[in-house]
């Protein structure tokens, strides 16, 4: 059997916590070869990041313990090497980039210093390291490379920070690059650029790449082979195309089935009197214009998806409509009354009609309140809706409605998974029987399979209760199966607004087309065809 560049064999890792021993991965084996990209695909808690942490000696022991296995690199078992030998390999032969580049770069040192440090730590003289840092930063495509080296991490955008992380990781021309969810926090167009950069750099250097992701689209775009992990074990592995088209394991099938953007689109709604009519809303923060004349109509029971990248103003729109922020001008007629001109008392009465579900249920639910308290708080604030003696029964009803059990009422938020917590947040929004729920990235933080469940739930609530939704998302495929109308925003303006079919099947605006093109399809063949088309296009442009 030929030697692989890097091979993990039968690795088992457990963590000793206050709640007992957690077996993070069990008997995991995979390998990566030179010039190849391996994707480790899994949802949160699947243990997908554990084996790579073991490779770089990033597991704290205790509480961690490696109970079996070996990691072969260069004919040696990394797990048997001393700390100094491991340090020598880290950063020089095997390098890593992470999900959230802002927190993974040291905030108090200039980025140039941090890139140079990788090289000087491995013995390069300072002057050469500085010259090399300039070359790297130029290569990863940052504007004004010399100036960029002197700046601090907070002065860059998310995509630029990830480019800097890549420059830092590639400084010593490593043989293996491990990328842990490298594009998860980025906008789709930026994600596409960063993945393209990784691919180009791999072709230049011939390094092996291990990419850890929860996103089938990323696998389709970049991976040659994929291993699928669930609950600490590898359930399936093979070439990315084969795994996508012919999944063997039920879990893989479920994961592929849950990928959004494959179902039936909603037929156009019959015209009706709009329940909410927003005209020409403007909002500026200092010199930054967040909303630049936004107008929209929302019919009863309609789902309007508002899609845009960061800085497009989509969240500001939600905050302004709920008067969490005051608009500078414009009007928003809710059943004929202007939300922006209501007195605090009138607004309070109206609040029960308009509810909001936030992105991160971990942060939007008070950790010291039980589920029952969280849900019935709304009735304490609006006392005329429900007499106190009926609270318990209604909480149980609401929990059943969002797919939880009545006995969950006495538990605290931390005892639930992310998807369950979002269901609690939805139950809380439903408590006041609203007519409109604004969801701000309500499913973005959830795993794909959970995402699908929550979207199904919202869709059912809409059908059964006629609730209208404004559904804010940065991701187009997520809204495709769910929205009636789609509004695409860019820099505070509405660039396109139409039925879901019109926007997805025949987008009029170049920006919408760019967004759709940048979104990754879970099918490797579709992505390969898109890449081929892009190459032809470029060649034609170049010729």
């Amino acid at each position: 059997m030929p030697d692989h560049l890097l091979e993990v064999r039968d690795l088992s890792v457990e963590f000793h916590t206050a709640g007992g021993v957690v077996k993070a991965v069990r008997g995991v084996s995979w390998h990566v070869d030179r010039g190849e990209t391996l994707a480790i695909l899994g949802e949160s808690g699947s243990g997908k990041s554990v084996s790579t942490a073991a490779i770089l000696d990033l597991i704290d022991m205790p509480p961690g313990r490696i109970t079996s296995g070996e990691i072969l690199f260069d004919g040696r078992d990394l797990l048997r090497l001393g700390a100094a030998a491991r340090r020598d390999i880290n950063g020089r032969r095997i390098a890593m980039i992470f999900q959230d580049p802002l927190s993974h770069l040291n905030p108090v040192y200039p980025v140039g210093w941090q890139i140079v440090e990788t090289m000087t730590a491995h013995g390069l003289p300072g002057a050469r390291a500085r010259a090399e840092a300039l070359r790297l930063v130029t290569r990863v495509g940052l504007p004004d490379p010399a100036g960029a080296l002197r700046k601090y991490p907070h002065e860059f955008s998310g995509g630029q920070r990830q480019r800097l992380m890549i420059a830092m990781a590639l400084a010593m021309k490593p043989d293996v690059l491990i990328a842990d969810e490298p594009t998860t926090a980025l906008d789709v167009t930026v994600q596409a650029e960063v993945l393209l950069l990784l691919k180009e750099l791999q072709q230049e250097t011939g390094m092996g790449v291990v990419i850890i992701t929860h996103d089938l689209g990323v696998v389709a775009e970049i991976a040659d082979r994929v291993v699928v992990m669930n609950a600490g074990e590898i359930v399936e592995s093979g070439p990315a195309r084969e795994v996508y088209h012919d999944p063997r394991h039920p879990y893989t099938r479920k994961l592929i089935g849950a990928a959004p953007g494959k179902g039936e689109m909603h037929p156009p709604l019959a015209r009706a009197e709009p329940v909410l009519s927003v005209r020409n809303v403007r909002k500026a923060y200092g010199t930054f214009t967040a909303l630049d004349g936004v107008s929209l109509d929302l019919m009863p029971g309609e789902t309007l998806a508002v899609v845009g990248e960061s800085g497009s103003g989509k969240s500001t729109l939600a905050r302004v409509l709920l008067r969490l922020d005051e608009p500078d001008s414009g009007e928003a007629l809710w059943k004929g009354r202007d939300l922006f001109r209501l007195s605090p008392a009138e607004l309070f009465a109206l609040r029960r009609d308009l509810q909001m579900v936030f992105q991160d249920p971990t942060q939007s639910l008070n950790p010291r309140m039980t589920v029952a308290q969280l849900i019935s708080e709304a009735w304490a604030i609006h006392p005329r809706i429900l007499p106190r003696d009926r609270w318990r029964a209604r909480v149980a009803e609401l929990l059943a409605q969002v797919g939880l059990r009545p006995e969950h009422a006495n538990r605290y938020p931390h005892q639930f998974s992310g998807g369950q917590r979002q269901r609690i947040a939805i139950a809380r929004a439903l408590a006041l029987e609203p007519e409109l729920i604004i969801c701000d990235e309500a499913v973005s933080a959830l795993d794909v399979s959970v995402q699908a469940q929550v979207i199904d739930l919202l869709d059912r609530l809409r059908r059964e209760m006629g609730i209208a939704f404004i559904f804010i998302a940065h991701d187009l495929p997520v809204v495709r199966d769910f929205a009636d109308h789609v509004m695409v925003m860019q820099r505070g303006r509405v660039v396109e607004h139409g039925t879901v079919r019109q926007v997805f099947d025949s987008p009029r605006e170049p920006y919408t087309r760019a967004l759709l093109a940048a979104g990754l399809d879970p099918d490797p063949d579709v992505q390969a065809a898109r890449r081929a088309a892009l190459r032809t296009e470029r060649r034609a442009a170049g010729a």
Binding site: L58, I89, F98, D100, P107, H154, M165
Partner: protein, 304 residues
């Protein structure tokens, strides 16, 4: 950076002006200075004459204007006890206090950072446990009691060190040692907590993935981030020493501001009390500005 300094100084200046106003009116609230300065059996004529000389019969605002004018020239009037300008007396004592505070805080800072960082590096290890207990004891120790015990043991019993005064370097050992204990215990705990969170931060993970040595990870990557909350506590502790470590200075007969203030209050040397308040206040304002600057130097996000 310059705009930052200007902004912070301006903010400090506002509070300083507030203090000036407060001190003036508070000192008037404590009663007529005539009663304070003149003996109880002074005649009405003497009192009237006194008021005339010191302008106490002028309207309050005129007096306030004069007081501010005097302040700007650092003129607080003469010390009754020493028959010299009060400001001279205070500055002389303040130099002693400043030296004591600086030496103590320098020692505390270095020792606490080293001990706290090492404790944080292996949480729950032997060193962490020992330093945890010791720092807790130190932080909660009553310093006046330790001072007296130290005098009894080291000065009276063993005769190694002098009991009080300032003649030789040996005179400094006991006051510094006693003043060291409390801030040391406190700051060790702050450093430890702050370092633990810094060491578990994502950028430390990056540093490990880069293959850096532990020493570099602790003292270059983690420490600078962990110092931000620590500096606040150091500043706070240093300010309380600058204020004059009243009890310790009195016990060790150390001629600093703390002792001077107590003596002056006991002897109703009003000008000296006022001058001490203004000088220490000014010193604490400067000290806070220094802390702000240290913050800005350490963390680029504050500068911008």
């Amino acid at each position: 950076m310059l705009t930052f300094i200007r902004k912070r100084s301006l903010a400090s200046l506002v509070s300083l002006v507030g203090l000036v106003v407060l001190v003036f009116f508070l000192s008037r609230l404590t009663g007529d200075p005539t009663d304070l300065y003149l003996p109880l059996d002074a005649t009405d004529e003497m009192r009237a004459r006194f008021r005339e000389i010191y302008g106490l019969d002028d309207p309050l605002l005129v007096q306030f204007g004069r007081y501010v004018g005097d302040l700007l020239r650092l003129d607080f009037g003469d010390s009754i006890r020493k028959a010299r300008p009060a400001i001279e007396v205070v500055l002389e004592a303040f130099v002693w206090t400043l030296q004591l505070a600086l030496v103590t805080m320098a020692l505390v800072t270095v020792a606490a950072i080293v001990v706290g960082s090492l404790a944080a590096f292996r949480v729950g290890g032997f060193f962490d446990r020992v330093s945890g207990i010791l720092s807790l004891v130190a932080a909660s120790a009553p310093d006046f009691w330790i001072a007296i015990v130290a005098i009894v043991v080291f000065a009276v019993g063993l005769g190694w060190l002098p009991t009080s005064g300032t003649g030789t370097p040996w005179h400094w050992v006991l006051p510094i040692a006693v003043l060291f204990i409390r801030p040391f215990g406190l700051i060790v705990q702050v450093v430890r907590g702050s370092m633990i969170s810094a060491l578990s931060s994502p950028y430390v993970k990056t540093a490990r993935a880069k293959g850096l040595r532990p020493r570099k990870i602790i003292f270059v990557h983690a420490l600078r981030n962990a110092m931000l909350p620590v500096i606040t506590v150091i500043g706070d502790q240093a300010a309380s020493l600058l204020n004059g470590a009243v009890v310790i200075e009195t016990i060790f007969g150390f001629p600093g501001v703390g002792k001077l203030m107590i003596d002056s209050i006991l002897q109703r040397d009003f000008t000296v009390v006022l001058a001490s308040i203004m000088v220490t206040a000014l010193a604490i304002f400067l000290m806070n500005l220094l802390i702000d600057l240290a913050y800005a130097t350490l963390d680029p996000r504050i500068r911008h």
